[in-house]
Symmetry: C2
Subunit: 200 residues, 2 copies
Amino acid sequence: MAQQRSEDTRKQIMTTAVNVFCRSGYDAAGVAEICSLAGVSKGAFYHHFPSKKTLFLAIMQQWLTEVDNRLNALRQPNVAVSDTLMQMAHTIGTVFTEASGQLPMFLEFMVQASRDKTVWEATIAPYQAYQYRFAHMLEEGKTEGSIREGEDAQAAAWVLIAFAVGMLLQGVVLPETADWETIAGRGMGMLVESMQRSNK
Amino acid sequence: MAQQRSEDTRKQIMTTAVNVFCRSGYDAAGVAEICSLAGVSKGAFYHHFPSKKTLFLAIMQQWLTEVDNRLNALRQPNVAVSDTLMQMAHTIGTVFTEASGQLPMFLEFMVQASRDKTVWEATIAPYQAYQYRFAHMLEEGKTEGSIREGEDAQAAAWVLIAFAVGMLLQGVVLPETADWETIAGRGMGMLVESMQRSNK
DNA sequence: AAAAACCGACCGATTGGTCGGTTTTTATTA
DNA sequence: TAATAAAAACCGACCAATCGGTCGGTTTTT
């Protein structure tokens, strides 16, 4: 292959950086440490990334598109919206066991987004897109019949995301404290149940 | 008063530190900057706090007891548990407008707890106490009649906390993006509604 | 006069980032 | 295919800036 080595080095830096960022956080993570663990010199690092922040943004971008793909794959036609939501809750549950090592990265994204304007702008757009997608899905559920008319799709979408975010955060801070997979399912079940029935 | 000046200095350092921690985060916040903004010398700082981490823990402790008091004040006898929960959701909503400036501190607590063992141990106990209290409250709701029998109080308590945490986090990262007060109410309404009715 | 509170210059360690030079890959010839 | 020059990738010693924390001395309170 042509520029195979260059690509390998770049990937190596990024995957190593994820681990270091997870363990130490963005600020405490040193470029020198990342380079050392990645088996790469500082020169190579700054050849691929203009700055530490650029590396962070690259990792974030990759993560956001990954999540986007997962969500796309989950939503299938001919399946009731309520069932899709339950399936999503189950997926969140599996994330705890699968990617538990990389979970703190999610926290780090939030923290940096709340502080750095550049990071925030890179986060806000996809994040709102998630909300938009959920709201759209709920509207589908209405016409389809699995979601009651009268439900405020916009607000409900935010509620769903808040719950998901809260679950992820608890999984990061309190792993092994509870059976998060079961709880994620129960919580989503409660929300879906409420959206199905007519309230009064 | 006796040691009035000393007390003033200590409070001044703590309140200033909250602002700096919120803006820059724990790692990026410099002791020198905190001292400068607080109008206090470094000598005074280290006279009151053995280290930066000690200061952080002191702030956290104060925050946790504050939350504890709020929760205690909210739970009144002779009021249905479901109503208390709705009242709590409303309180969360007001937090967004009241303490929006200090909200990022909550994020910082989570981040540090997930990384530093000392901070984690100081957080985990009160946090689980919250869950225990909610579970207990839900059990009360059962005997009282406002919560259906059969509801898993332990799991439901975690769901409630996850939702609250997620709401707070969204308020930090995306202020002014949505009417969080309304959404907090709607989400809690959904959860409470599900816990009231018998599902199937 | 003793003790507590406070001051700020100073220190070793570490940080993100730079830069002149070397090695490896690619493109272009003969 | 071999030789070669240009470009890309990589190296690591080095730097200015900043960090948390110290300490001998001064001021204020008891």
